[in-house]
Symmetry: C2
Subunit: 217 residues, 2 copies
Amino acid sequence: MGRRGEHSKLEIECMALEAAETIIENEGYAGLSARKVATAIGYTVGSLYFVFRNLDELVLRVNGRTLDQLYAVLINALADCRYPQRSLLVLGAAYLDFAAQHPHRWRMIFEHRPRDEETPTDINKEKMDRCYELVEKQLQALAARPEEEIVLAARALWSSVHGIAAMTITRNPHAEDVQLAHQLSINLITHYLTGLSMTDFSNVIMQTAGRAVDYPK
Amino acid sequence: MGRRGEHSKLEIECMALEAAETIIENEGYAGLSARKVATAIGYTVGSLYFVFRNLDELVLRVNGRTLDQLYAVLINALADCRYPQRSLLVLGAAYLDFAAQHPHRWRMIFEHRPRDEETPTDINKEKMDRCYELVEKQLQALAARPEEEIVLAARALWSSVHGIAAMTITRNPHAEDVQLAHQLSINLITHYLTGLSMTDFSNVIMQTAGRAVDYPK
DNA sequence: GCATTTAATAAAACATTGTTAAATATAGGA
DNA sequence: TCCTATATTTAACAATGTTTTATTAAATGC
């Protein structure tokens, strides 16, 4: 039929993203297909390719929106935390809860493999780095250290919480899994920060940089 | 043609697994297909389904073999480490190196989503738990603590190193990525262990268990 | 107000996928 | 030597992402 101008290109784009999100939320990434998204928004397959270059691009866009949501959640969780150590614990807890509440979309951020080789994969890198920066800010408030060390510590800490989520929170997480994740996160952050406050940090850096692969006996 | 008895069922199974592994190692999971595996071992598609229930089963078997390899690497790396703290650092480094050397197969362990719902997903759980136990053993040698706390700490620590790998080592890791991963791992393990040795561990457990989700201000 | 162009949408076609059903050829026993 | 069981292939199916072609409605020119 080809009715025209009923929705603007931007509207269709937004509708498609929302439709894809609910499909993924309900059926997981495996349930996502171009035709399913298209019929969900009342169009046919070909129209999707008028808006997105391919499905990979749509997925990357969904991931971007998920990262935006995550960031908002983190900021919100941080709202009324006055002490940096508590802030770090709260950040970890908020991340775990977000992962548990949207397991499919959360996993898709990390697990999506673009079919097309030339699709840029690091489009959402900045959105991920924002999270590291949140952690950096708290670490800075906790102890005055050189920038370089703060960056490293933030990355180590945030990656660790992510690892706990990755190993504990499945695609269909049970309440007990989530609770275990929280225990692990608290355990990890607490001990790491204690160690951080006890160590001559720059010294460790000097000793270990650049000789990681063949670690001495 | 149907030549018969040229290879036993078990032989075909092994050939298919090896073929799948080289395909994945070279082209990633995206490059894996039933037909490609079949032709690689000189058979046609249908024959694969005489040996494996479906492709998911084949992938799970490959994952099992990868985990066996990983375990062997970890044991080997541990061979001549006399001090538990050093052992933990070496375990982390060995894990990162394994992930960097076989990124596709390593990621597939965690990223594989079975198409079929009724495919059991936790077949390789024991093989993963063996890794936790290695860490537990070192932690036990480091400090005498109740079993429960050792288990928790091992899980936190190992998940963290995995998280560092997951965030740093891409599907086509550069040398600089791997080096950063090693730095982060050393940083994390060192500070965590320092913190562990400084803290009244059981006290922390008592305080935090069961009130993880809505964390107090 | 009608014809023409242009762009939005649909429909169809293609190659590839996992999986299954049917066909076929071979090995071993009668 | 035939027969049967089974290993193996072949063909077919449905679903997928993507591209190409066809159609229709709006915008434009006169």
